[in-house]
């Protein structure tokens, strides 16, 4: 199994994605604590050009996309697509992908898997969440209502970062949804808790794991990445020196006619 980096995209141009942005920050903290080499394409950096070049350069083993989605794409900053059906799915080759976005698992996810993604975790219909209006312009972990929806998503990411299989990661997220569903179904649940049930149930039912459920990731640290880069550079310089020496040797020793 190849070791790779962790790459996430998290735009922040409007209220819904601002929530995803804030919760993805927690995932980033987890990856940094684990000393995983993490590439954070945040805010306006969450665009197709930077996404494609970063995947090619840093070869992530886990790609985590936050943004609006549809059957055909997952978007980045300003709702511009960064991963699209019949366009650049091959970029996910040999990666585990998780898209916290609407519907993308229905067509785009399947296409990514058929073009080499090891697994594609996501939602085959809209991802719906409830939040407290007072936090709309400043989403944070203080929004307990949103956390019932976004914490299970973070559990999935944490499981992948801990080296669990894609199937186990989805299972961990499903369990988190299930815990809230059970808690809010009990007779002592408040009306505020009970009204969340239709949406929690919806998200749990539409979360899927496509591709190899046994796929798991191994990660490199930033030090390992830099070491690999240096080694590649040394090899390149050595090859270059060899060729230059060879050319000089040929010039010097080839008999002239």
């Amino acid at each position: 199994m190849r070791k790779g980096s962790f790459l996430l995209t998290r735009p922040n141009h409007e209220p819904t994605v601002n929530y995803l942005f804030a919760w993805a920050e927690k995932v980033l903290e987890i990856s940094k604590k684990k000393n995983i080499f993490s590439i954070d394409l945040s805010k306006s950096s969450a665009n197709k050009k930077q996404f494609v070049s970063s995947v090619k350069r840093f070869r992530p083993s886990f790609i985590y996309l936050n943004g609006h989605g549809s059957l055909n794409s997952v978007t980045g900053f300003d709702n511009k697509p960064i991963l699209s059906f019949a366009d650049n799915e091959e970029i996910t080759n040999d990666c585990v992908v998780y898209a916290l976005s609407c519907q993308s698992a229905k067509r785009l996810g399947k296409s990514c898997v058929s073009r080499g993604a090891r697994s594609y975790l996501g939602y085959n219909d809209d991802f719906i969440f409830v939040f407290d209006e007072k936090n709309e312009n400043n989403p944070s972990e203080l929004d307990q209502t949103a956390s019932y929806f976004l914490d299970p998503s973070n559990d999935l990411c944490q499981a992948v970062l801990e080296g669990k299989t894609s199937g186990e990661a989805v299972e961990s997220s499903q369990s988190a949804f299930e815990q809230s569903i059970i808690k809010f179904s009990l007779s002592d649940a408040t009306a505020e808790e009970r009204e969340l049930l239709p949406y929690l149930l919806w998200d749990r039912e539409h979360q899927v794991c496509l591709g190899d459920s046994q796929a798991k990731c191994e990660f490199i640290s930033e030090e390992e990445y830099n070491k690999q880069r240096k080694t590649k550079l040394y090899i390149l310089i050595s090859v270059l020196i060899f060729f230059i020496s060879f050319i000089f040797w040929r010039l010097g020793f080839t008999p002239q006619r």
Binding site: T16, G69, S70, T75, D126, D132, E133, E192, Y199, L201
Partner: protein, 76 residues
């Protein structure tokens, strides 16, 4: 005993009544469609547009799950 068929108008009315009980100060985010207060959702249900249809679908999925069971163990 003949089965009672519920019209789509009655379903919309049922969902509207359920949405009315949503706590004030909460909003529901439905992907790229946006975020909606309960008053806005009720308007969308009344119009019967994409957002209205989606919320009806989500609520009916929940209500129907009482028959099939909504815990994972119920489905095994």
């Amino acid at each position: 005993m003949s089965a009672c068929k519920v019209s789509s108008k009655e379903i919309r009315q049922l969902v509207t009544e359920r949405i009315k009980t949503l706590s004030s100060g909460r909003k529901i985010s439905i992907g790229s469609e946006g975020s909606f207060s309960k008053e806005e959702l009720i308007d969308h249900i009344k119009i019967g547009d994409k957002v209205g249809e989606k919320i009806v679908k989500v609520q009916m999925n929940y209500l129907r799950s009482f028959k099939t069971g909504f815990l994972k163990d119920d489905k095994k």
